[in-house]
Amino acid sequence: MSDAPEETPQDLPEGASRRLAELENGLFTSDLSVNEFLLIKEVGFHPLGFVMGSSIYHTGIQTRKWGQSQELTKLTEAMYNARELAMTRMEEEALELGADGVVGVRLDVNYYEWGKDAAEFIAVGTAVKAENGVSHRNKLGKPFTSDLSGQDFWTLMQTGHIPQGLVMGTCVYHIAHRGLGATLGSAGQNVELPNFTQALYEARELAMTRMQDEANELGASGIVGVRLEEKSHQWGSHTIEFLSLGTAVVKTSDDVTLPRPTTIISLDN
C-alpha cells in the first residue's frame, strides 16, 4: 500500500489509448495461462489488460582504450535509459487502466536489419488490480512491476511479501586486451589472468549494486529471482553488457506461518 500521490499517464499512442479505453468497459486481455489466471484471482487480484512499452534507441559509440579495462558509461546510460523508457511506457498503460501492478513482465531487446545501430527495447506484462479496492501501488505511487509468473506471485504472497518493482542494474564494460609482454610471459602455462577476472568481477558487482540501489529507492526489503545476464550485443567480444534483474519485494506481514510441505504422488500419466 502507498500514500504517495498516484501518477497520471502521458503521451501514449492513440491506438493504445483507444484499446485501453475499451478494456475499461470490463473486457480484459492477458497473456496469463489459465493456471496463472486462477492463482492471480485466488490471491485477490483481477487482470485488467495486456500492457506494453517500447523504445527504439540509438546506442551510439564510445571510444575505448585497447589495453585498459573500463566501464563504458555512455553505453551503460544508453542501455539503462532505453529500458527505463520501455518500462515507463508500460507503466503508463497500466496507470491508464488504474492498475495496482503488472505481473509476468518480460523485457527484451530486438535488433532489426533496417537499423544497424538501433535496438528496440520492449516491455510487456499483464496489469492487475486488487479486487478489495486496497491500493498496492509502490512507494512512488506507481503500479508495481514484476517478472514473476502467476504461480510465483501466488507463492510470494503466501510468504507475506508483495512485489514493489522489477529492478535492474546494468554495466557495459570493456575488458582490456593483453599486451605482448603479458602474453609472452605466461605462454604455454595454465594460469589465472587476474586482469580479466578483476574486470569481469567488478562489472558484475556494479550491475548488482545498481539493481540493489533501485530496490532501496523503492523501500524494498529484498530482491527475489535475481538473474545475471551477459551479452556483447554488437560491440565485439571485449565489450560486454552485464545486466542483473530481479523483483524487489517488501514484507507486508510478520505474522505468516508457512505450511509444512506435503508429499504428493502424481496420478497423471
Binding site: 595454465n190 594460469v191 548488482m208
Partner: protein
C-alpha cells in the same frame, strides 16, 4: 583486490558496498525462496566468485607429454597399446597410449577452487551461515581464448542459528524443496564437491581404424568389435573422477552425484576425454524420520 589461488583476498569494492546496504538479493526462484523461509533460512545476498584462466595448448605427442612452460608432466594413469602389426611404415600407428593429463586437471582444479573460495569469502563477509542453490559453470569467455570459471549461489543465514565454527559457510547445489527433503531425511549439507579427470587417447592403428568406421578401407565388410583402447580410456576417466571426489568426502556421503563427460575428437582416433563429477557432500545429523505417506493427486492440466 588481490587475486591468487592461495589467497582469495579482498572483495571488489562494489561487492562490499552491496552486502553492506539494505535489501537482500536472492537468486532463488520464488518457490525455493518460500521453502527456505519455511525451513528457517533467511537470504543474505546473491554471492558470486570468478576466475579467468589461460588455458594453453599442451602435449599432443606421446613423446612430448605435458604442458609447455613448466607444466607438470605425466603422473597417474599411463598405459600403452601396441598394435599387432609391428612397425609397417612410418605412417602406420604401431603404438598407442592412454594417459592422464594431470596438468589439465591441475588447471581446472585451480580455476574452480579459486572461484569457489571467492564466493565463500563474499558470503562470509555478509555474515552468512551457508550458500544454497549453487550453480557452477566453466567455458570460453567470448572469443578471448580464455576459460572462465563461474560459481554463484544465494547466501543464507539460519534464523536464530549459529555461524559455522570455522567461519566457512556450508554450501550446496540444492535449494528449496530438494534441500527440505534432504534435511527431512536427516542429512545436513557440508559443501559442494567436484572433481575432474582428463584422459588423452593416442590411438594405435586398430583403434584408429575401428573408430573411423568399417567403411573407410574395406567397404563395410568388417565385423563389429570392441574398441579396447577407447573403452579403457572412457572407463579410467570416470574412475579417476570418482576417486577424486571420494578423497574430498573424508567419510561423508555424496548426494545427487552428476557425471558429465565431454569428448573432443582430435582426428585419426585421437580423443581427449574430460569427466566432471559433481555432488553435494552431506553428513547425517539425525536418524531418518519417515515422512507421512504421499497424498495421491491429479493435476488439472
Amino acid at each position: 583486490m588481490t587475486l591468487s589461488a592461495e589467497e582469495p583476498g579482498d572483495l571488489p569494492e562494489a561487492a562490499v558496498r552491496r552486502f553492506a546496504e539494505g535489501a537482500f538479493t536472492s537468486g532463488l526462484t520464488v518457490p525455493d525462496f518460500a521453502a527456505c523461509l519455511q525451513m528457517g533460512l533467511e537470504p543474505v545476498g546473491f554471492t558470486q566468485g570468478y576466475c579467468v584462466m589461460q588455458w594453453q595448448f599442451y602435449g599432443t605427442s606421446p613423446f612430448g607429454m605435458g604442458g609447455f612452460g613448466g607444466q607438470s608432466g605425466i603422473r597417474g594413469y599411463n598405459e600403452t597399446f601396441s598394435c599387432p602389426h609391428g612397425m609397417v611404415s612410418g605412417e602406420h600407428r604401431a603404438w598407442g597410449q592412454n594417459y592422464e593429463q594431470a596438468w589439465v586437471q591441475d588447471a581446472w582444479t585451480t580455476g574452480f577452487t579459486t572461484a569457489y573460495e571467492r564466493m565463500e569469502e563474499e558470503a562470509a563477509s555478509g555474515g552468512a551461515h551457508g550458500i544454497v542453490g549453487v550453480v557452477d559453470a566453466s567455458g570460453p569467455l567470448a572469443d578471448m581464448g580464455v576459460v572462465e570459471f563461474r560459481i554463484q549461489g544465494t547466501a543464507v543465514r539460519v534464523i536464530d542459528g549459529q555461524a559455522p565454527a570455522d567461519g566457512r559457510p556450508w554450501t550446496t547445489y540444492l535449494a528449496g524443496q530438494r534441500l527440505t527433503k534432504l534435511v527431512e531425511a536427516g542429512y545436513a549439507p557440508v559443501s559442494i564437491a567436484a572433481s575432474v579427470a582428463s584422459v588423452r587417447q593416442w590411438a594405435n592403428c586398430v583403434t584408429q581404424y575401428l573408430t573411423e568406421g568399417s567403411n573407410s578401407m574395406y567397404g563395410g565388410i568388417t565385423q563389429g568389435a570392441e574398441i579396447v583402447q577407447t573403452v579403457k580410456a572412457q572407463t579410467v576417466a570416470r574412475q579417476l573422477a570418482t576417486d577424486g571426489i571420494k578423497r574430498q568426502l573424508a567419510g561423508d556421503s555424496l548426494h545427487g552425484a552428476a557425471l558429465s563427460t565431454v569428448q573432443r575428437n582430435l582426428g585419426e582416433g585421437d580423443v581427449e576425454i574430460e569427466c566432471v563429477l559433481r555432488g553435494n557432500r552431506v553428513r547425517r545429523f539425525k536418524p531418518f524420520d519417515p515422512m507421512p505417506s504421499p497424498r495421491p493427486t491429479v493435476r488439472l492440466l
